[in-house]
Symmetry: C2
Subunit: 341 residues, 2 copies
DNA sequence: TTGTAAGCGTTATCAA
DNA sequence: TTGATAACGCTTACAA
């Protein structure tokens, strides 16, 4: 019998020996105390404390083919939108036995597919993925994941498993209709990145303007570059150079809206009198801006929270009756689109 | 012999059987191809592809007492500062065999300690932690971690292992001196959260004003609340209510600076003529603002990148000669503090 | 309620 | 260069 490393850390066998019981009893006491007599349980607890024992997750995973890892895949770390979602996820997970494993797909479906493969090979307890636009193979991987899957941030007709989000198209429609109702008539669209959710907001914009008979595709200004405040400034400048009579812009997100506001200040264009500005997501700064910026408040934190809740419920055997939860959104109409104020 | 689950996934034994070799040879071919003959290697590669074999990380970790996980602990997910650091980390890790495990301590040293315990129990390949202000026990855990440890975002005299950051005190000093040089004389400080790094920036502010014989503690306005744009607005309002003759503010971070700018616009206070505004970190929006906001550019992305590089080098046996890397910072003087423009 | 034995999928050790 | 075997630390299956 040649011994190997025996790294030093106490094992379940050490605890068992000290408590005078078998290893399986320790295992049970740790995972399901109710199945062990009070007496033994106390001895075991003492031994665990005395030895400072911490179970080895890898051994556990290997033996049980299960982990306590909830895999999360999002497309961006920089985008504030996901920061809030992550906070919701981390806050909910913190009070649970689960751990988060976070992947950043950088808005690349291919990278998402790769991460999915890596994550699944680790037998996660559950998976939370942003968006509903996986590649075919990515979707196949999710379908056969063998664990609860929650798609977040968006809605679609055919969830892989569960889904919590809101309609981006409806959001884009609402804010655009608001601009129309506020009296604006030559309404532009500023968009960056142009990922699927952005596209849907653009669809909403288009539908609202067609409804109002105000649609003019020349007022749509987009770029594949990633969103930023300075990009908002540049896009508005471009739009106004091409279509100087534009009297409002729906900015695909709040960073762009802020940049557009700065550009108006720079160009001495009165907001909201000469030009109206609306964003999307309602990040904290929107209300603090001067003038305060109109936006669509999206349930970011809550999506993260609910996703974890749904996953945990499924893990506990309580599949929700509705697989899809529409959390909606809310128009926050502020000074930047109030012509009468 | 009662068989258990045999979940379905191919194992190294399946690959070995198909390739007509032993499992250990497959193991070697996968980890260190040079140690296996070309012929067998090809057979094994074929079998791996044919079976779509993916090694089980948990079995690997159990058998080798090693993982490919780099643990990262940061205090906030919402703060943009960390988003950039994380991007640097994820980008560097993406082109490596390592994976990130991310922990959010929420600015709580106790929570950090807890996370450290959890992470270490999983035998990470390396650990990256934000800040140098761990609890005593946290520091002890890091010291005996048995893996490379990189502290980031700050500097101190006694790194646990390796360190990459910059001096927050020097940064606070520089930007404050810049305000003095720009002609401001009654310079306030706006601070939120007041974590250790914020405290050091405040120290730099204080030292610079004492040097210039302009220090007045009544101009320091702080709150333990977490930083936000609206908080910047509120803090400046408070400060001006108490000390109306304040002619400049150093805002502990860029969110506050943006809020302060909005408050000035709201109160029709000319920036930079009546009041100068400077921030810290130089987030992307600072340059786009109107007027463009002065800030200290901090090497956030690079800190993340370098931390992973240092960890990987150490893992490869190449300990760097210098354990501490000072990445410095840069003053970005802009319109918000240019009285003469 | 508790225990025994086998097995999870991989790698370290030692031998050839 | 290759392989046989034990071991990693835990849990499942079955038995008492």
């Amino acid at each position: 019998m040649r011994t190997r490393r025996k790294g030093g850390r106490p094992t379940i066998a050490d605890v068992a020996a000290r408590a005078g019981v078998s290893t399986i009893t320790v295992s049970r006491a740790l995972r399901d105390p109710a199945r062990v007599s009070l007496e033994l349980r106390e001895q075991i607890d003492d031994a665990v404390r005395a030895l400072d024992y911490v179970p080895d997750q890898h051994a556990r995973a290997l033996a049980s083919a299960r982990t306590n890892i909830i895999g999360v895949i999002i497309p961006s770390l920089t985008n504030n939108v996901f920061a809030d979602v992550l906070r919701g996820i981390y806050d909910s997970v913190a009070e649970s036995p689960y751990q988060v494993q976070l992947g950043n797909s950088r808005y690349s479906p291919i990278e998402e597919e790769r991460l999915l493969g890596i994550f699944l090979s680790q037998r996660p307890a559950a998976l939370i993925v942003a968006g509903v636009d996986q590649t075919e193979r990515g979707r196949a991987l999710l379908t056969s994941a063998g664990c609860p899957v929650v798609q977040i941030m968006d809605l679609s007709e055919d969830p892989v498993d569960m889904m919590v989000g809101f309609s981006h198209k409806a959001g884009g429609h609402l804010v655009t209709s608001h601009l129309v109702a506020a009296g604006y008539r030559r309404i532009g669209f500023l968009g960056a990145r142009m990922d699927p959710r952005t596209q849907r907001r653009l669809e909403g914009y288009r539908a609202a303007l067609i409804d109002a008979d105000l649609y003019d595709p020349r007022r749509i200004t987009t770029t594949p570059a990633s969103s930023s405040v300075s990009l908002g400034r540049d896009l508005l400048r471009d739009l106004l150079a091409r279509m100087p009579d534009t009297d409002a812009v729906f900015c695909n997100n709040d960073d762009l809206a802020l940049g557009a506001l700065f550009e108006c200040q720079r160009a001495a264009l009165a907001v909201p009198a000469s030009i109206g500005i609306a964003g999307f997501n309602d990040l904290e700064m929107m209300e603090a801006a001067y003038p305060a910026l109109t936006s669509i408040r999206t349930p970011r934190y809550e999506m993260g929270q609910r996703a974890v809740q749904m996953a945990r419920a499924a893990l506990a055997g309580q599949r929700p009756e509705r697989r899809t939860i529409d959390l909606g959104f809310e128009l926050k109409a502020r000074a930047s689109t109030s012509r009468n104020d």
